[in-house]
């Protein structure tokens, strides 16, 4: 314990120089944990929201369905029968029919996806109950982004045109029964939600669906002919890739901060070794072995990270706690980020994140601290005492 005690004593004895390095390093610490926490929270909350509102416990896709290719939609539908029908009847799944359509809000043409869903379904937390039909009028549910883009509001009517199974165009007036506010853009932008049965009748596809959303408690029954099961790992992969790409941008920021902190420590170490040669000579004369002096100086540098961790904990924990519990209000512009963010962003921190960051900073600081001390290995006691580098 002698060397750590001496290192700490030397470090604290260096006063302001130490504290400047420690403050910069603690900022890096805080920024790393904070940004990682934000992106973790962002990813987790977006995944939760998407699971709740859209994805359920996974989806069976019609074998022709490709959400990235609208041209496939015409052929991407099939009868919900057998095992799938049984799941729907047991309340463990809900079918969704997706077809292309066009609306004419304010006299302008706009291509949309028409999505039919059972108004009484409980599988996803979409407010489909508003689609309960009353009379001949077609009830339609849209999201707040769609409402904003099209200028439609609750109670408005718009002409809806679609093609049935034979390719024949038809049109009807649809009334907006509800504008839902959701953080999940993939159930909102460019989409109209309709009662499933009505859409099946309109398109001439009775009992058919494009995809079947299963309950979150559902365990896949295996292969079903004509349908492909997509689990949450697959369905959330785009979101995760997006979060990852944003993380890379944030990583650049903290790598830069860490680099500056390391530069300051490296500089301090180089200066220390240059300025404290006489002290090293004295330590050698008193009987401290050269290897111990290397340990001492390396540890002095590495202890910057320990002090930085303590300092970051003092001011960082309350701030991180605040972001985790109270959240961080998001400006409206982030709605265009492609994430299901919501109005507030809550950070998520794990012990692994804090321990991992501490370990990373400690390791990098130790390496940076050790590099200049290698010079000591070549230092002759007599040269050191004269203040010379060997």
């Amino acid at each position: 314990m002698l060397i750590p005690k001496l290192a700490l004593r030397n470090l604290l004895g260096a006063g302001l120089r130490t504290w400047l390095n420690v403050i910069v390093l603690s900022l890096s610490f805080f920024v790393i944990v904070w940004t990682q926490g934000i992106y973790k929270g962002m990813g987790e909350r977006a995944a939760d929201a998407m699971t709740e509102v859209e994805l359920g416990g996974g989806q069976y896709w019609h074998e022709n369905y490709d959400p990235y290719d609208p041209l496939t939609l015409q052929d991407a539908h099939g009868k919900v029968t057998g095992q799938l029908r049984a799941l729907v009847d047991k309340g463990l799944a809900t079918p969704v029919l997706v077809v292309q359509g066009t609306i004419y809000p304010g006299g302008r043409m706009r291509n949309v996806l028409l999505k039919g869903i059972d108004p009484s379904q409980m599988i996803v937390s979409l407010p489909s109950r508003f689609l309960q039909e009353e009379g001949e009028e077609l009830s339609v549910l849209i999201g707040s982004r769609m409402a904003k883009n099209t200028g439609l509001k609750k109670g408005d009517s718009t002409t809806l045109r679609w093609r049935d199974i034979n390719g024949t165009f038809d049109a009807i007036d649809a009334r907006i029964v509800q504008v839902m506010r959701t953080s999940v853009q993939t159930v909102d932008t460019g989409q109209l939600w309709l009662p499933l049965k009505r859409l099946q009748e309109m398109t001439g596809m009775p009992g058919e669906a494009t995809l079947v959303v299963v309950d979150q408690k559902f365990e896949s029954p295996g292969l079903i002919a004509g349908w492909v099961f997509k689990n949450l790992d697959y369905l959330l992969s785009d979101l995760r890739a997006m979060v990852q790409s944003k993380k890379v941008g944030a990583t650049f920021l903290y790598v830069l901060l860490l680099f500056f902190a390391m530069l300051a420590i490296f500089n301090t170490q180089v200066l220390s070794i240059f300025r404290r040669r006489k002290e090293m000579g004295t330590l050698m004369a008193i009987g401290l072995a050269r290897s111990k002096i290397i340990q001492l100086f390396t540890l002095e540098g590495a202890m910057h990270a320990v002090l930085a961790a303590v300092l970051a904990a003092i001011y960082g924990f309350p701030l991180l706690w605040y972001f985790a519990v109270k959240g961080w209000a998001m400006p409206e512009v982030v709605d265009t980020m492609g994430f299901a963010l919501g109005e507030k962003l809550y950070s998520t921190y794990s012990a692994g994140l804090v321990v991992g960051t501490t370990f990373l900073v400690l390791m990098v600081t130790t390496i940076v601290s050790f590099l200049p001390t290698r010079k000591i290995a070549k230092l002759k006691p007599t040269d050191a005492l004269r203040g010379k580098l060997s």
């Binding site: 002698l2 001496l6 002290e279």
Partner: protein
């Protein structure tokens, strides 16, 4: 080696290469020192005084010949063995005091004992005794920057004697001190030599130090030109 002989050099040679030429800092120096001696190497700058002191103190190794300190051949010691020898058996006093700047007087004196892994109680007693010897028991909390030159050198002496080593090597210990402080320091060292039977070896060309020596070895160009026993002209007695 005779039991009472602590230090012995035999045909000691130290050569420093300087470009194409060589500088003979020590040229076949053979000397022996017994326990309790108060001796000094005297001579002009570049005569080899400090080099000889450094080799005896295991801070340097000879090019040729042998230096034996407390039965250990300096030229055969590894870095760690040399550090161990210095830590346990040799105290150093330097011209520029060489106190550790961030430590207090107490901590500077305590440092060698930390390396010896003494218990805190033993350490405290030894440090206070050593500071008491040099008359600085009331400056324990002062840092080197707050001490005068004379006080700093006294702390350095306390640091050298705190572990009660059999040998203390002092390289120009009074060079940065005024006459009054020099005499004070030398009297302190002489008293320690007398009371603890510590062997003191000086490298000096300061007349004030020479007055206190009981043995004066004159070096010129790395060679011993004179080795004389003296009656000290000045004494703390």
């Amino acid at each position: 080696m005779d039991n009472s002989v602590l230090i012995k050099t035999d045909e000691l040679v130290k050569i420093y290469p300087m470009g194409q030429t060589e500088i003979w800092a020590l040229n076949h120096v053979s000397l022996a020192f017994q326990k309790g001696e108060f001796a000094g190497f005297v001579g002009p700058s570049g005569s080899g005084k400090t080099t000889l002191l450094n080799i005896i103190g295991s801070l340097d190794s000879p090019t040729k010949g042998s230096a034996e300190v407390l039965g250990e051949k300096i030229e055969k010691l590894s870095h760690n063995q040399a550090a161990e020898l210095r830590n346990r058996h040799i105290g150093f006093i330097f011209q520029t005091f060489n106190l550790l700047p961030v430590y207090t007087a107490y901590e500077n004196v305590e440092f060698p004992l930390l390396l010896l892994r003494m218990s805190p109680e033993e350490r405290k007693k030894a440090v206070m005794d050593a500071l008491d010897w040099v008359g600085l028991a009331d400056r324990v909390k002062s840092k080197p920057a707050q001490l005068s030159g004379g006080e700093s050198q006294r702390v350095a002496i306390a640091r050298a004697v705190v572990k009660k080593p059999p040998i203390i090597l002092a390289d120009e210990p009074t060079a940065n001190l005024d006459a009054e402080n020099s005499h004070h320091i030398l009297k302190t060292m002489e008293r320690l030599n007398r009371e603890l039977d510590t062997t003191f070896l000086f490298a000096t060309h300061d007349e004030k130090v020479i007055q206190y020596l009981r043995r004066k070895i004159t070096l010129v160009d790395g060679k011993v030109t004179k080795d004389e026993w003296m009656t000290p002209k000045a004494s703390g007695e």
